[in-house]
């Protein structure tokens, strides 16, 4: 672990997710890959021993929607930190804007169907904020 190089880890990420060669464009992983690895940038991925992160499985439409929200939120957060130290990078900024727009739609959709994810999105007839489970309670895949 101490002496593995970024090239080794790239190979691992490539092999695991078939992401191709490490050009600057393909260095950015998809939101799904990013959430799975905990890192949106393939060249920065640092493997621990031979552990392989597992993709998160979902079993219904509600969980599928929630997982997409997790994935986009993750990607936005990682682009956010990257842009903080590289604020003029148009590639990262355009991707951030694209994901933010998609996330906004999904969060509104989820809140409307299954209960508010943000208190200001509690817009149906009954106050749902206290009804839908808190995220630490578990009992679902996401």
């Amino acid at each position: 672990m101490l002496f593995t190089t970024y090239e080794d880890d790239n190979e691992m990420a490539n092999e695991f997710f078939n992401i191709g060669n490490d050009t600057s464009a393909s260095d950015i992983l998809s939101p799904k890959q990013g959430l799975t690895l905990g890192n949106l940038f393939a060249s920065e991925y640092d493997r621990y021993k031979d552990y392989k992160p597992r993709e998160i499985r979902v079993s219904n439409e509600k969980e599928r929607l929630m997982l997409s929200i997790y994935e986009l939120s993750f990607a936005i957060n990682d682009l956010n930190l990257k842009l903080d130290v590289d604020p003029n990078n148009r590639t990262y900024f355009n991707l951030l804007k694209d994901y933010a727009k998609k996330l906004d739609g999904l969060v509104k959709d989820y809140s409307n169907k299954y209960g508010a994810l943000e208190v200001c999105l509690d817009l149906n007839n009954n106050y749902s904020w206290i009804k839908n489970p808190w995220p630490w309670e578990g009992n679902s895949n996401v």
């Binding site: 672990m1 959430l35 690895l37 905990g38 890192n39 940038f41 920065e44 991925y45 640092d46 621990y48 552990y51 992160p53 597992r54 998160i56 929630m66 997982l67 929200i69 997790y70 939120s73 993750f74 957060n77 990682d78 956010n80 930190l81 990257k82 903080d84 130290v85 590289d86 604020p87 508010a116 994810l117 943000e118 208190v119 904020w129 839908n132 808190w134 995220p135 630490w136 578990g138 009992n139 679902s140 895949n141 996401v142």
Partner: protein, 186 residues
């Protein structure tokens, strides 16, 4: 200010009770290299960062770390769900029970309460960022020790994620540190 989203940073659904693992994980809530220490460290330091980039980065990583505090507490809570007093006693958590019941309280794995002396904030961006890089590396190692001890993949997946975040944060702090060093010398 902060706004709550009703989700975690990474989903956690632990189905198997594991009191020993809960005890080990407590250290990332309230130990020397804990997420709580990280959140408070960067939150305190952000006010005196000298550039737009620095203020943004420290603010945004502090915020993410607060989400990680919630993740650690979620793991401890789920791992202890349904644990009997006998099980707590057999796994070294009876003294924790005397003080806190089943309540979450920031201590390390030995029950030592969290203290702000775990971190520094000295108003000098080079010194603060050097501490931040070291903190991320120490937290990475702590996660590696926890992964070594963990048996349940539901726990390991979450720990691999949290470990990887330490690596990303280290890289961002290092980029800022090197930029500040360069500006000082040119």
């Amino acid at each position: 200010m902060f706004k709550y989203d009703k989700k975690l940073a990474y989903p956690i659904n632990i189905k198997k009770k594991d009191i020993k693992m809960a005890k080990y994980l407590l250290t990332q809530f309230g130990g020397a290299n804990s997420e709580l220490g990280a959140a408070l460290r960067y939150f305190s330091q952000k006010f005196t960062m000298p550039t737009e980039e620095g203020r943004a980065l420290l603010n945004d990583i502090a915020t993410e770390e607060l989400g990680h505090v919630e993740m650690i507490c979620t793991m401890v809570y789920q791992l202890l769900k349904g644990a009997s007093l006998k099980e707590l006693e057999d796994n070294g958590l009876s003294t924790q029970y005397i003080e806190h019941g089943y309540g979450l309280y920031p201590t390390d794995s030995n029950g030592m309460p969290f203290t702000v002396t775990y971190f520094a904030s000295v108003g000098d961006p080079i010194a603060d960022l050097a501490e931040d890089m070291a903190a991320e590396e120490k937290a990475r190692v702590t996660y590696e020790h926890l992964i070594d001890m963990a048996k349940d993949t539901d726990v390991i997946d979450v720990l691999l994620f949290l470990r990887q975040r330490e690596i990303v944060h280290y890289n961002r702090f290092r980029a800022l540190y090197e930029e500040y060093k360069y500006e000082m010398n040119n």
